[in-house]
């Protein structure tokens, strides 16, 4: 009996360690206090475009951002209905990525895959009626991409990688002209 006792405790320690391991791994994403969503949520109101300042040392919203990409963010909140995101992308490098608060990238618009420079997106929650956002005819509907969001609140992050050493002004102008909001028909975007 006494000989077997340490073996029993070792087995207990291993089982307990396994449990602690699993609990730690599963709860960390929920408990992490400085995740990307928390950092971005502090920047401003929801359903509007927030242009992030050019990344410099000490001016980084998130770690590992790079100055040769210009960023804009829209914190979307679908509790009052779908949100519309319109952009005229100046080059094929642009990426519009949608995230849940846990950082799951559930949808990405890749500039190079778009047939047109005008990107018109409607972010809806599953089962939310799309026509609410002013898409009334099938003709306009053809140019609209419906993004089905698994969450009510999330993040749309627009990346504008610089296509050349002197292209930053162009990228910033195009980001500034981007619209994100609940208005039924977004404003016409002037050519950047």
């Amino acid at each position: 009996m006494r000989v077997r006792l340490p073996g029993l405790y070792i087995a207990l320690a291993v089982v307990l360690a396994g449990l602690i391991h699993v609990v730690a791994v599963l709860t960390l994403p929920v408990l992490a206090p400085r995740d990307a969503h928390a950092r971005l949520a502090a920047l401003g109101p929801v359903n509007t475009i927030i242009q992030l300042p050019t990344v410099t040392p000490g001016q980084q919203v998130m770690p590992n951002m790079v100055p040769d990409v210009r960023y804009a963010v829209c914190l979307f909140d679908l509790s009052d209905g779908p949100v519309r995101l319109r952009a005229r992308i100046p080059n094929e490098l642009w990426l519009i990525a949608f995230y849940t608060p846990l950082g799951e990238n559930f949808y990405t618009v890749i500039g190079a895959d778009m047939k047109r420079a005008d990107v018109d997106l409607i972010v809806t929650e599953k089962d939310q009626p799309v026509p609410d956002v002013g898409v009334d005819s099938t003709e306009t509907f053809d140019n609209v991409v419906v993004v089905s969001s698994p969450v009510t609140k999330g993040v749309a992050l627009i990346r504008a990688p610089l296509a050349g050493p002197s292209r930053s002004a162009e990228a910033e102008r195009a980001l500034k002209a981007t619209y994100c909001g609940t208005r039924k028909s977004g404003p016409t975007i002037s050519s950047p």
């Binding site: 006792l5 340490p6 405790y9 070792i10 207990l12 320690a13 291993v14 089982v15 307990l16 360690a17 396994g18 449990l19 602690i20 391991h21 730690a24 791994v25 599963l26 960390l28 994403p29 929920v30 992490a32 400085r34 995740d35 990307a36 971005l40 990344v55 410099t56 040392p57 000490g58 980084q60 998130m62 770690p63 590992n64 790079v66 100055p67 040769d68 990409v69 094929e92 490098l93 990426l95 990525a97 995230y99 849940t100 846990l102 950082g103 799951e104 990238n105 559930f106 990405t108 890749i110 190079a112 698994p150 993040v155 992050l157 990346r159 990688p161 610089l162 296509a163 050349g164 050493p165």
Partner: protein, 216 residues
């Protein structure tokens, strides 16, 4: 009989006391060991990654399922801790390095030469950070090189120099704080070679070699 009975009882009592103290000690010990093992293994798998969650090529490491909604719990935890919003591997690939090609830690007190082959992608950028993912302040305000801005060889390959002092060509300054540990991040957007599930593929020989030249 009653006497021996009493003595048996006493001896049992003493024995019990010893056993329960020992049991308590064992229990506390068991719990401490379990805590260290559990937290330690979780930390290692979240922070460093394993073959299940990361691809390693020379000094480079890439979390394959980062940002993917169906990612494994370790990748999710890694992402939440990092505070970043990466693109999934079908849109972009990220390769991180904290060591040179021979395994020595990247330090601001050393000089490095990064030699990379051409990448079959729409755009890439190589950036230098400290351990926390912050850019390193320097008077030249130079923090990264991308596919459009870097001086490249005729075959599309390139060479980047990491040094505290100015160097000709693609010079990435490592700042004034010589004690700093460095992290290199290569982000590649729009890889043209993909596997069957659309994940961008980088041939191992295309990932740059990091050679340590000299240290102060």
């Amino acid at each position: 009989m009653p006497i021996s009975g009493t003595s048996t009882h006493t001896s049992l009592w003493r024995e019990d006391g010893g056993t329960s103290m020992r049991a308590l000690g064992y229990f506390v010990g068991t719990f401490a060991v379990a805590l260290i093992l559990g937290i330690g293994s979780a930390w290692y798998m979240i922070e460093r990654g394993t073959v299940l969650t990361t691809t390693r090529v020379g000094p480079w490491k890439s979390w394959v399922s980062e940002g993917n909604p169906s990612a494994d719990p370790y990748t999710r935890a890694h992402l939440a801790r990092s505070g970043r919003l990466p693109l999934t591997s079908t849109a972009a690939r990220y390769f991180v390095s904290t060591t040179d090609s021979s395994g020595g830690g990247l330090s601001a007190s050393c000089e490095y030469s990064i030699t990379g082959g051409p990448l079959n992608a729409r755009w890439w950028s190589m950036a230098l950070y400290d351990t926390y993912g912050s850019l390193i302040p320097n008077p030249s305000k130079r923090y990264s090189f991308n596919s459009e801005g870097a001086i490249r060889h005729t075959d599309g390959g390139y060479r980047i120099h990491i040094s505290r002092k100015a160097r000709p060509g693609n010079w990435l300054p490592s700042g004034n704080d010589s004690g700093k540990n460095l992290t290199l991040l290569l982000r590649i957007y729009g890889l043209r070679d993909t596997d069957i599930s659309g994940i961008g593929q980088v041939p191992p020989e295309s990932l740059p070699k990091i050679e340590r030249l000299r240290c102060e």
